[in-house]
Amino acid sequence: MTPPVTSPKLKFGREYRKPSLGMAMKTLGKTIPGSVRHRFEVAARFAKSLIRMVRFETLMGLAVVGAFFIVSAGFAQEANDQDAKPIPILQGSVALISDFTGGQPDIHPIATPVVLLPIGQRWLFETRATFENDFVEVPGRSGFHGGPVQKEVEYAQLDFVANKFMTISAGRFLTPFGIFNERLYPAWIRNLQSDPLILPIGIGPSNASTGAMVRGGFQARPQFDINYTVYFSTVVTTTPVDSDRFAGGRAGIFVPKARLEVGASFQHLLQQERSNLFGFHAIWQPTALPLDLRWEYARSKRGSGYWLEPAYKLSQLPFLQNEMRRTQLVARYQEFFTGPAVSDSLPPVHTKQFEFGANYYFMDGLKFATNYGRQFSSLGNVNVWTLGLTYRFVVPLGPDGSPK
């Protein structure tokens, strides 16, 4: 039996012919003068032929370049008045954190350099990397042993200050969901060295997004300012810079008179369960007291929770003023509730945690931090101790403009 000779190409598909300019002209040439509608149809066919001639990637490339030109030209006249020309700087922090969770000691050195590269008056390239290691006790061996140094580019983004209302960022950026990930994460900034339990909600697999973001802050009324962020992230599967596909936004209101900021975050996951995530945050610094009060709530299909963190500086105490003004007492209460979906990065059961501690600022940028906490869950209650030393540095990479 000889199978019938068929040509699937002819039977099921049409032979592809790359459109050319000649074809397009031929298409135009066949037109018969008629109604206006017919002319439109001919014009549309001609445009379609032309578009087919170039590849999709080419169009995308041209669109990106064109968008840059348009934005650049559109706002070129609005010069930002600065009396000092910014220079590239290297800043960041180094920290040595040791924690004892459930009696297991862990020494955790971490360095997070940040490079800021201002370009002209409106552009900024910024990137932050992390180099960290975990030294733990290995049974049967003395001392602490660490594995290879973990390296990660936390963000690398190009910012364009379009005008006073809007900044456009593209690249890999910290996901602006809530306040902790984007604003409070570095070791020298955070009041307590442990992460909140709800931190993984809404920030993606590597705490960052890959895509574009539009953001800004402006004075809406004399009494308050508004800030906003809208972003889109695409899928990246390369570890450790992986990211999910989602879109979201965050908006906040800051009342300078009351020193109060409240805001909300929203995100829609465009993959997997395609769920919605939302959160709320607040920061309040009462004017009468040296107190910082921060609160955050997040909800997702994989869990929800909140944390509340007061921090009080002892600067108002009438004795040992030099020491007291450098000392800060901190506490944090947090709770996590599991959701219908599971997550590797979130606790598997309902968990409560209370921590309190103290920070002592030796000088600008050098901080000693210690805290004690206890975690309550059905898996067992554990103590969490942390001791740490953090140092923030700034190194100008050029003439810094200081008077000789």
Partner: protein, 130 residues
Amino acid sequence: MKRNCMMLCCLAAMTLLVGKTLGQERPKSETFSKATPPAGAPLLTGNSKSTDESTSPQGADRTEQARRGTKSEPSERAEGEQRFRENCGRCHQPPHKFPPRVMAAAIRHMRVRALLTDEDMRLILNYMTR
């Protein structure tokens, strides 16, 4: 081949853009004169904010000052200090002063990260560099 050509074109366009942006920078003296108008001259317009710290330590009367529309250098410094404490202290311990050009880079970073307003940025930079 085509893809490489496109990449080269994109790179060339980006280089041109960066060059153009750098070319737009004005001489330092010119920007200095714009950033620091003489005392008594109208300084704040549009959505600018202003406060006299002596009468409203926490920024209560921003509107009143803006209506008056005039500001001297010391009051602008006071305003800058207040904005510095309000904005920088919200997330971290306010740092000591940095050299002017370092501060200019840091404040641009903070504009993006902490969503500072245009006016906050200008006043804080003024306060931190003088």
